[in-house]
Subunit: 347 residues, 3 copies
């Protein structure tokens, strides 16, 4: 599609510097843009690319606009404006309403006439699929699931019995919502399975990445609140709660019965223990081990950056000898007649 | 369903304190229970909730029973009894015997008449599916697979050619058993694929979580022994052996040719190296790196709990300078005329 | 199948010590081989098994051949020769050309007549499937995808719109290529979705393990170069580039916009940060945290091997007190009148 800079400025509340009739067709990086492209500058470290860009226009903030050699759409949050302009120029695919003849839909399921049920979907009893919802190919919707309006399940998504998916959620291929949680009672050397009779409730505007899984609770529900964004290959255990507008990056695991607050940012490959609570507005850097609750907003870490392997092995060797270093330090202090705080005494 | 306390006491070998005719319909937490609910107290830290519970009855041990204000089912392992009562009150769904008309079953497959083959399953040549086994929608069973009695594949499970699944196994959506292992022979800067002609054998009563994968061996079989429980998004490499009644939590990876003993408890996000052996009765805490064999039962760890990010960065800075601290310590000891054990000398 | 040692020697350029007419049927380990088996010795630590083997022949190098009690195929790279002999003795299954009647293929898709499209596949508009390509059961190929010659998608592989798969790629069940990347622009406490209009391009001879995901880029493509091998449950973020003949083991995550060089070997459960560059010929040991770029070939690490849990907790306690140890060291040096390099001063 093609749109004029003037229309973009009006629609997204930008100040336009340049000819409002200039048309743009597509979005591109500063380096790849041509005169029919609109580009953006959100990260100051790319500002030097501005001088050479051949973009038809650039979305940027007022400060950068002063050095922009081409037409500019000036706004306070260029990254968000870029996202919105890109959404406009790259609209989501449209899926025709109706049920594909190869889909298998239980007689008691209620599919809104405006919804799309793709090829080879299996939809169980008493399922409700809302207006304009899109079930891509090969989705499995077990009994008693509710899929709200404007949800899109891209393909091959499994929603187990009774789960509830709020409006405008977007789930990528391979997502599994509502498998049994991992709960067993030890008894005489074996395990007794604990039935998982809780469900999973996902609020509005949640996006979940490919092959991510969220288990159902044993007694309480697993809950993902409004606007949360969850990346690929993430595991949410039983009865986990993820707060609204919280972001969780790929390969992270959240153990059962843990509550993550609102507006948190959890990096990739983070391991969060079970039965703990993370406060609102907490950021956790990637590859951290979160072993106990976090009560204050802030940034938290535990990963140790790499070294060349030989150097690393020496560091590890020293680390493993750290108790003896502490003892030697104490001995030296005694020899020297120095005293030190009692709380450092234990080893 | 509804059941009387008296029947529960008889069935599960509990001592009943209260009216045997009292009916209960459902299981609930102490806090959520009403008079038609049965609850349980397995963890002493919830004991104070007992005073206020409105449960029709509580499953607990003899010690807690003395302070229980409502009818009690007294037993030595309340958590296991809770699990069994919950299984009774929440029976597994029943699937009608027979092959769904949309399933594609090879002519040489043998499906027991009491088994259920769900919609859109694909079942290969010479497959055997045992009595009462349930293949949920979209399962793919390649040639020469054996699925024993009472197995349940919830949905979308892939069993690659020749794998063998023992009785009463329960596999959740997205599980892949028997993909090729990750084995390549380096040759002149590229890799030659090693055929994986081993299989995967899964014994009885194994549960495997959503999107977990277990690869087949190059020459030997990958083996999961009886009663093992494996969580979501776990990776079992080629020719791994998991011992009976071992539990592996989510996001853990076990590299190829490693043997995990019996009755082990492996936490989440653990990384286990290849070609090693973990003894029976080993517990590994979450987020540990298991780089070599463990020969003795016990508990093992390697994760470092997080700190606030600035404090953490300082710790890491100190860690990276630890060799110089060791040198300075040595120098001080020399200046002081102190000697120290030789084995701490190397850096 | 059966083949003579003489034919194997000619075909794979080995020196034969023994009767060229001796037939072998199968490949086996030294311990399990019988006289109709061919075995191999690639790792010197198994050399003592040579004395007792009952194999019909053994593939090994010249040095080991001197102590081999049975016929030998002598070559410089026995492991690669084993792989090739095993490929010959265990040929890939053959799939009949043609489109299974239950597959749903869009009218504008072009399927080469020699290709196999399995049961219940869904193939979108303008898809191109090359000669001899095999789409196993339940594959989903969205619009505008290109699948080159001799590709094999084992089963249940999802290729999202527009992705491009080079010749001879092999993808295992559950692989998802081309899901949206994880990109959102923060705006007033919520997130605006960034459309992912880049694609994923996979070059020739790439193998990808079960349930691995590779996201599409926001603007640029995600690229996997020729001959790369990627294990199960790996996550490749948006606009990642994996260099040719690079190997990535299971459970590893590569964050968005990161470039991995050629001929790298990345261990399992490694976490690689976004927007960084790893040079060619880098090896990273398992469970490492790669937080910044690596500019030189070499081996890099950051995982700390485990200890028994009590000992580990003590080590962690010392680690958390390391700043105070450094201060005490400094104080001792001052008391002693020792000086030390300035660069170690900061804490």
């Amino acid at each position: 599609m093609s749109i004029s800079l003037g229309e973009l400025a009006v629609r997204f509340g930008c100040e336009l510097r340049g000819n409002p009739d200039t048309p743009v067709d597509r979005i591109a990086t500063l380096g790849n843009a041509d005169e029919r492209s609109i580009s953006f500058l959100a990260n100051p470290r790319y500002r030097q690319q501005l001088a050479d860009t051949r973009a038809g226009a650039v979305i940027l903030d007022a400060k950068s606009a002063t050095v922009c050699p081409v037409p500019a759409l000036v706004c306070s949050n260029p990254y968000a404006t870029y996202a919105r302009v890109s959404q406009l120029l790259n609209p989501s695919p449209v899926f025709p309403p109706g049920i594909h003849p190869t889909a298998i839909v239980a007689p008691t399921a209620h599919i809104d006439p405006s919804a799309h049920v793709g090829p080879l979907c299996v939809v169980g009893e008493r399922v409700s699929v809302g207006p304009r919802a899109v079930l891509g190919p090969h989705c499995i919707i077990e009994d008693d699931v509710r899929v709200a309006a404007d949800v899109r399940l891209v393909a091959r998504v499994t929603l187990c019995h009774g789960v509830d998916i709020g409006p405008r959620c977007l789930f990528h291929p391979g997502v599994v919502i509502g498998g049994d949680g991992f709960g067993f009672a030890p008894d005489k050397g074996t395990y007794v399975k604990i039935p998982h009779i809780g469900s999973v409730r996902v609020a509005a505007d949640v996006e979940i990445g490919a092959n991510t899984t969220a288990d159902r609770g044993a007694l309480d529900d697993t809950v993902i609140e409004e606007g949360a964004k969850i990346d690929n290959l993430v595991m949410l255990g039983h009865a986990v709660r993820v707060g609204e507008h919280t972001v969780i990056a790929g390969c992270t695991g959240i153990s059962g019965s843990t509550t993550i607050g609102k507006r948190c940012v959890i990096g990739g490959a983070v391991a969060v223990a079970g039965h703990i609570t993370i406060a609102d507005d907490v950021s956790i850097t990637g590859f951290s081990m979160i072993s106990h609750s976090i009560t204050e907003p802030g940034v938290y870490s535990s990963g140790i950056p790499f070294e060349e392997a030989r150097a690393w092995r020496k560091l590890v060797g020293h680390f493993k000898r750290i108790a003896s270093y502490a003892r030697r330090l104490k001995k030296l202090e005694e020899a020297q007649g120095l005293t030190r705080p009692d709380e450092e005494d234990d080893d």
